[in-house]
Symmetry: C2
Subunit: 163 residues, 2 copies
């Protein structure tokens, strides 16, 4: 194939490697092929996510936090769930964001145990710039023929809906 495919070709697309699913064997085969290719492309692209976050002087995780904190106030524990990490980790994470004036801890009135996180004005502004940058499509998408882009978009819309 091409120069890239070596890093995932030998163990990757092996149809029906085990008895794992109860579904039809053919479905799993195509799904695995699609996933393997998707995974490879994405992994190459995700390599520069740290650099992207660094454009805003954010760590990758801080960028992720800002992304989640967009719409509504979140409790610390909810954020820990989104990040699938320990609650104690979120404490330090928010400490640093708060020290930079991007985020604010606000005690909940219904339940005085929880602290709600809200973006400051500066935090919301930074998030806006970050999101615009994050959603710039990478080259492997812009280089596609438009019909592929449309098909990809529609497939992803359906996948999101049934999730």
């Amino acid at each position: 194939m091409n120069g890239y495919s070596d890093s995932h070709s030998e163990q990757a697309v092996r149809p029906s490697g085990g008895p794992s699913g109860g579904t039809e064997a053919g479905e799993v085969g195509v799904a695995q092929q699609a996933w393997t290719l998707l995974f490879s492309l994405l992994h190459t692209h995700m390599r520069n996510f740290p650099a992207l976050a660094a454009e805003f002087e954010l760590s990758p995780v801080q960028a992720h936090v800002l992304r989640q904190l967009g719409e509504e106030a979140l409790a610390m524990s909810t954020l820990a769930n989104y990040l699938s990490c320990d609650a104690s980790n979120v404490t330090g994470l928010v400490d640093r964001l708060e020290a930079r004036g991007l985020v604010e801890r606000r005690s909940s009135e219904q339940d005085r145990r929880v602290k709600m996180l809200v973006l400051t004005e500066a935090g919301a502004a930074l998030r806006g710039r970050l999101m615009a940058r994050m959603f710039e499509p990478p080259e492997f998408v812009t280089a596609m023929p438009e019909e592929d882009q449309v098909a990809l978009r529609d497939i992803m819309r359906r996948a999101l809906k049934t999730q």
Copy 2:
């Protein structure tokens, strides 16, 4: 898993002002829509990559190293390039993998400055199991109708070829 779908909708798919015709300005709009959706789905999936690596008692980065180290011996500096991180970081990384008997440093004979990294037998075995696990398609792929899976696979094949 739940409560996710709202986190990417407000700044994300903005059709960039222009009317989306078949021209190049319209192409960018569709590309951005496709990318935004893809990005969101992928980011939710990537959240549990640490857990996946942990099934093999590996950190995410160690899993990435094992993946890269599949076929051929790599110099430390080459690995640092792949990981796009500092060379001094690789030292400790390889130290820990070597201490677990997964990787071996081997001095190059052409250039006695460089050290080549090779998988041990145990390392290769672990890598095999890891790769098989990594390429198991996630639910958002297996839940697709098969024609979407086929279309997705073909789109990704074309994208890889023209990369």
